[in-house]
C-alpha cells in the first residue's frame, strides 16, 4: 500500500489515516459512460476500497472517443462488467461490484443503501431523479455531473442535510426538452473533466477536507473557460415531498423506458399490487389476484378510473409486448406508479401459484 499511494500519503491532509479512510469508503457510480469512466478510474487508482458500477448498456464504437476505460476489443461487452475487469487490473486490492442492469424503482433503494455516496453519471433524467430521491431518503451524498456540448455542471446534493437536486430543479423536464449527449454531440474531453471533478468531490467527502460543492452549482464553459458557481437554497417543500412519499417519487417522464419494466424476480410477496390484464378476454391462462382489473388493450379509451389510484400497478399480457405499449399510454395520461411486467401471463401464473 505504502508505495502505490506514496504521493497521496505525503500530503499532510491525507497521510496514512486519510488513506485508510479512502480504503474504507464505498462509492456507487451510476453509469459507466463518459462521466463514469474517468471517475471510476481515479477512484480505483486512489484506493477507494469498495466501488459499485451499474450500467445496462454495452460498449459501442461511438463510446470510445470519451469512455476511456474501453478499447476496440470490448465492443458489445456490458459496460459495468467490462469496467470492473479493467479496474481490477489497475488496482486488484479493492472490491468492485458490477451490476449489469439498469437502476430502477424496484432496486434503487436497496443498491444505493450499500454505499456511502453516489456519483451520478447517468444519461437520462428519470435515473437522475431516482438517484436523487433515493439519496435524499437514505441521507447519502449525490455527486452530480451534467453535460451539454462544451459545458458542464457539477454539484453535491444531500450533503450533511444540504439541498437536494429537486431544490434546484423540482421536476424533470418534459421528454425531449433537454437533449442528451447522444442527441446533441459533446466535446470528448468534457465528460472527462466533469467526471474528474465528481471523483474529486467524492475524495473530499471521504477525507472530510476542503468544502464540497453543497448548495452550489458549478457551471463550466470550456470554450470561454469561464467557471461560475451559483449558490442555491434548500427548498423544504421539495425535500418534504420526497420524504413524505418514503419512496422515490414516480416519474412521469419516460426518457428511459427500462425504469418501468418489472421482473417477477424483483417482486416481493409482501407488496400489495394492483394487476392489470391487458389481454383479450379469450386469451388463456386467466389469472386470479386479490386486486385484478381486466381491460383488453384494444378497448382502452378512458383511463380515468386509474387517476386517483396510487397503488403499485403492474400491467401484463401474454409476452410483455402489449403491456409495454399500454404502459406508454398510461404514462402519457399521467397515471402514476405503474409498471409493465417483463414476463408473460404463463410465467406470472406459475409465480402466483408458488406464493
Amino acid at each position: 500500500m505504502e508505495s502505490r499511494y506514496q504521493r497521496q500519503l505525503q500530503l499532510p491532509e491525507i497521510g496514512t489515516a486519510g488513506q485508510k479512510q479512502i480504503a474504507q469508503a464505498s462509492v456507487l457510480v451510476v453509469g459507466a459512460g463518459g462521466l463514469g469512466c474517468p471517475a471510476l478510474q481515479y477512484l480505483a487508482s486512489s484506493g477507494v476500497g469498495c466501488l459499485g458500477i451499474i450500467d445496462p448498456d454495452t460498449v459501442e464504437i461511438s463510446n470510445l472517443a470519451r469512455q476511456i476505460l474501453y478499447n476496440e476489443s470490448d465492443l458489445q461487452k456490458n459496460k459495468a462488467l467490462c469496467a470492473r475487469d479493467k479496474l481490477k487490473q489497475l488496482n486488484p486490492s479493492i472490491d468492485i461490484e458490477a451490476y449489469s442492469f439498469a437502476l430502477d424503482h424496484t432496486n434503487a433503494l436497496s443498491i444505493i443503501q450499500k454505499y456511502d455516496m453516489v456519483i451520478d453519471g447517468s444519461d437520462n433524467f428519470s435515473t437522475r431523479y431516482l438517484i436523487s430521491d433515493c439519496c435524499l431518503l437514505l441521507h447519502k451524498p449525490m455527486i452530480y455531473g451534467g453535460l451539454f456540448k462544451f459545458e458542464g455542471q457539477i454539484s453535491v446534493f444531500n450533503y450533511q442535510k444540504g439541498p437536494s437536486y429537486r431544490c434546484l430543479f423540482p421536476n424533470p423536464p418534459d421528454l425531449g426538452e433537454v437533449p442528451n449527449c447522444s442527441d446533441t454531440g459533446i466535446l470528448s474531453v468534457a465528460p472527462g473533466l466533469i467526471g474528474l471533478y465528481q471523483a474529486t468531490e467524492a475524495l473530499k467527502i471521504i477525507l472530510k477536507i476542503g468544502s464540497p460543492l453543497s448548495g452550489a452549482l458549478l457551471v463550466i464553459n470550456l470554450l470561454t473557460l469561464k467557471h461560475v458557481t451559483f449558490e442555491f437554497e434548500k427548498n423544504p417543500k421539495e425535500i418534504k415531498r420526497v420524504q413524505k412519499n418514503k419512496n422515490p417519487l414516480p416519474s412521469s417522464i419516460q426518457d428511459c423506458i427500462l425504469d418501468f419494466e418489472i421482473s417477477l424476480k424483483d417482486l416481493t410477496t409482501k407488496e400489495v399490487l394492483h394487476w392489470i390484464d391487458v389481454r383479450k378476454h379469450e386469451e388463456k391462462p386467466r389469472l386470479k389476484f386479490p386486486k385484478l382489473t381486466e381491460i383488453p388493450f384494444e378497448a382502452w379509451e378512458s383511463l380515468e378510473s386509474f387517476r386517483g389510484d396510487f397503488s403499485k400497478k403492474i400491467l401484463f399480457c401474454q409476452s410483455g409486448k402489449r403491456s409495454k405499449s399500454a404502459l406508454s399510454k398510461m404514462k402519457e395520461q399521467g397515471i402514476q406508479n405503474c409498471f409493465y411486467l417483463k414476463e408473460g401471463a404463463e410465467e406470472l401464473k406459475k409465480w402466483s401459484e408458488n406464493l
Binding site: 453509469g31 459512460g33 463518459g34 462521466l35 451520478d120 453519471g121 447517468s122 444519461d123 437520462n124 433524467f125 437522475r128 455531473g145 451534467g146 453535460l147 451539454f148 459545458e151 458542464g152 455542471q153 434546484l168 430543479f169 421536476n171 423536464p173 418534459d174 426538452e177 433537454v178 437533449p179 442528451n180 449527449c181 447522444s182 459533446i186 465528460p191 452549482l217 457551471v219 461560475v228 458557481t229 451559483f230 449558490e231 442555491f232 437554497e233
Partner: protein, 67 residues
C-alpha cells in the same frame, strides 16, 4: 437557452424589477422558452419568484443531461 432564443446575451428594460416580471417579459418575447425549465441567478445566487432584482446582470440556465 442560447439556441432557443438565438442569442448569448441581451440588454432589456423592465418596468418592475423582480423575477416574476422578468419571466413574464421573457415568455412574451420568447414564447419558445415557456415550456422549458430553467433557473435565474443574480450575483451568482439562484433566485426565487418573488426576489427583487437589484443588479444589472442576470444569468439563465437550464438543467443538463449527462452521459
Amino acid at each position: 437557452m442560447t439556441e432557443l432564443v438565438g442569442k448569448q446575451e441581451e440588454e432589456i428594460t423592465l418596468q418592475s424589477k423582480d423575477v416574476k416580471n422578468l419571466k413574464e417579459f421573457l415568455f412574451q418575447k420568447y414564447p419558445m422558452i415557456k415550456n422549458h425549465s430553467f433557473q435565474i441567478a443574480q450575483n451568482n445566487q439562484i433566485l426565487g419568484e418573488q426576489t427583487k432584482l437589484d443588479t444589472a446582470e442576470v444569468d439563465l440556465f437550464p438543467p443538463f443531461s449527462g452521459g
